[in-house]
């Protein structure tokens, strides 16, 4: 029982990280039809931005961690906004150009971070409570799992509030369905594009910082690895659907944990790809179809 509890909660925690990366990716694709391969770069830049800020703060470990969190979220949002304004905006009518430029940005970001900080992982010094565990059904669950899961639930709630209760959310939901008609109602969809990129970047930045707590370290290539699974989550969940991404992220996280534990290492990753293929065959629109 304790193993099941540990695997399930760890899987949900991993799913929470996937969700934080996938939510922005899904909205960006749903609204703008941009395949953003640079999304993992937002994750990486934010993680290192947070690490630099946290290590500059003396004293209290909670304060260090919270400063790192704030800087990570802000740097993710800022980097994403700059990416949209400078690189994506001139290429809206050229999808191949978007793919090339975002892939290039992802590769360049990893290389720059490796050049600046080295290839070795950086260890995060966490507050004592985060290094401790909480017993659940006989399993000692690392407390970082609760933080990651709680943050993902908070982001899900905030995103749903934004989408369902604000005018910009209404614009995004309508834009996911028919961007041209939103523009034909006199609405500058471009602003919504920038906002969605900023929100996606902030969520990816949060994921970058929380992944540091989850794994205990940050490194230059984790963003790229997370991006692969986030893309899978977005497709399984339904392009443009935040709720679909949340459900798919948890399914993928738990599946990976169980199969990697009970099967050989890597079986979980392979099973996720099989799940993707199965969903594409049976339900090509994903769990939720195209609805924010």
């Amino acid at each position: 029982m304790s193993t099941i509890a540990l695997l399930t909660i760890t899987g949900v925690g991993l799913g929470a990280l996937y969700f934080l990366v996938a939510a922005g990716l899904s909205l960006i694709w749903g609204l703008m039809r941009v395949l953003n391969f640079a999304h993992g770069a937002f994750f990486t830049v934010a993680a290192y931005g947070g690490w630099v800020a946290a290590t500059a703060v003396p004293g209290n470990l909670w304060l260090q961690w919270l400063v790192g969190l704030l800087v990570a979220v802000l740097s993710g949002a800022l980097f994403a906004t700059l990416t949209e304004v400078v690189l994506i905006r001139p290429l809206y009518a050229r999808p191949v150009g978007q793919v090339l430029v975002t892939v290039g940005l992802a590769l360049a970001t990893v290389a720059l971070v490796q050049g600046g900080f080295g290839n070795d992982p950086k260890t995060l010094t966490l507050p004592a409570w985060m290094n401790a565990t909480t017993a659940v059904l006989g399993a000692d669950i690392p407390n970082t799992r609760w933080i990651v899961i709680g943050a993902a639930l908070l982001v899900l709630g905030l995103l749903l509030f934004f989408l369902r209760r604000t005018r910009y959310g209404l614009i995004v939901r309508a834009g996911v369905e028919n961007r041209a008609m939103v523009e034909a109602l006199g609405i500058d969809v471009q602003r919504a594009f920038t906002l969605v990129f900023a929100i996606g970047g902030a969520a990816a930045g949060l994921a970058g910082w929380l992944a540091g707590a989850y794994y205990g370290t940050i490194d230059p290539v984790r963003g790229s690895a997370m991006l692969i699974f986030a893309f899978i989550v977005v497709v399984i969940g339904g392009l443009g659907s935040v709720v679909g991404s949340a459900i798919a992220a948890v399914v993928v996280g738990i599946l990976q944990q169980y199969l990697n534990f009970y099967g050989a290492a890597g079986v979980g990753d392979f099973a996720v790809v099989l799940l993707l293929a199965g969903v594409l065959l049976i339900r090509p629109g994903g769990f939720a179809g195209a609805a924010a």
Partner: protein, 240 residues
């Protein structure tokens, strides 16, 4: 024609979609007030012309609204100058409720005509919480017309085949709504149903083979069988 001011001026409008040169140098005026019909055979480019006016497709030439040049403006900016658009396929947001579809059309700084909208389409008030995608075609057309009418700032409405695919009952409702809408805004109407067009429009612009083939009053067009046969073809025999 009487001396009414020109509201919409289109000069040498060229539209390019992909590699194709769709509309080649069309010029016409729409005078202020009433309903002007944009007619022509199927596939002649009436919808493309409306989309070109709105900047929804790449175009060159000149598009003026009350003398102000708009051809370099983006779609949302053109619309904010006081243009409402009802597309051919209605394009309601299926996943949003009726109320959300209307709320999306609200523009800050423009008085809203909810009273008029609900007077014309009382059904929409009763169905405010219903997802637009679950409405019938006629009801969706009401939502689409309501969005265009909602802003009192809109002085020109571009309406594309509003009765297409509708039952006779809804066709009558839409025609009545257009008559009432013409009291508060100028309408440029694309309509394949000639009976409806004849009953509603005053001025007509007929497109044929990529150019304007006729402009004048609708009676002049309809009273000349040779002209209608030549420029409207089989459309003259349509009965709805």
């Amino acid at each position: 024609m009487s001396e009414r001011a020109t509201l919409l001026g289109v000069r040498d409008l060229h539209v390019h979609i992909g590699e194709s040169h769709i509309r080649q140098g069309v010029s016409f005026d729409v005078r202020e007030g009433g309903i002007t019909g944009l007619l022509g055979r199927n596939g002649v480019g009436k919808t493309t012309t409306l989309r070109g006016i709105l900047g929804m497709v790449p175009r060159t030439g000149s598009v003026t609204l009350a003398g102000e040049e708009l051809v370099r403006s983006r779609t949302h900016d053109i619309v904010r100058h006081g243009v409402g658009y009802v597309p051919e396929d209605r394009d309601v947001f299926a996943g949003l409720t009726v109320e959300e579809n209307l709320r999306l059309a609200e523009r800050s700084g423009s008085p809203l005509r909810y009273d008029l909208v609900y007077e014309l389409f009382p059904e929409l008030k009763a169905r405010a919480a219903q997802k637009a995608g679950t409405l019938s075609g006629g009801q969706q057309q009401m939502v689409s017309l309501a969005r265009a009418l909602l802003n009192a700032q809109n002085r020109l409405l571009l309406i594309d085949e509003p009765t297409k695919g509708l039952s006779p009952l809804y066709t009558r409702n839409v025609a009545d709504a257009l008559r009432r809408a013409a009291e508060v805004a100028t309408i440029l109407l694309v309509e394949q149903n000639l009976r409806v067009a004849q009953a509603l429009v005053g001025d007509v612009i007929v497109l044929d083979q990529g150019r304007v083939a006729f402009t004048g009053r609708v009676e002049e067009l309809m009273d000349d069988p040779a002209l209608t046969r030549k420029h409207l073809g089989l459309a003259t025999t349509e009965s709805h």
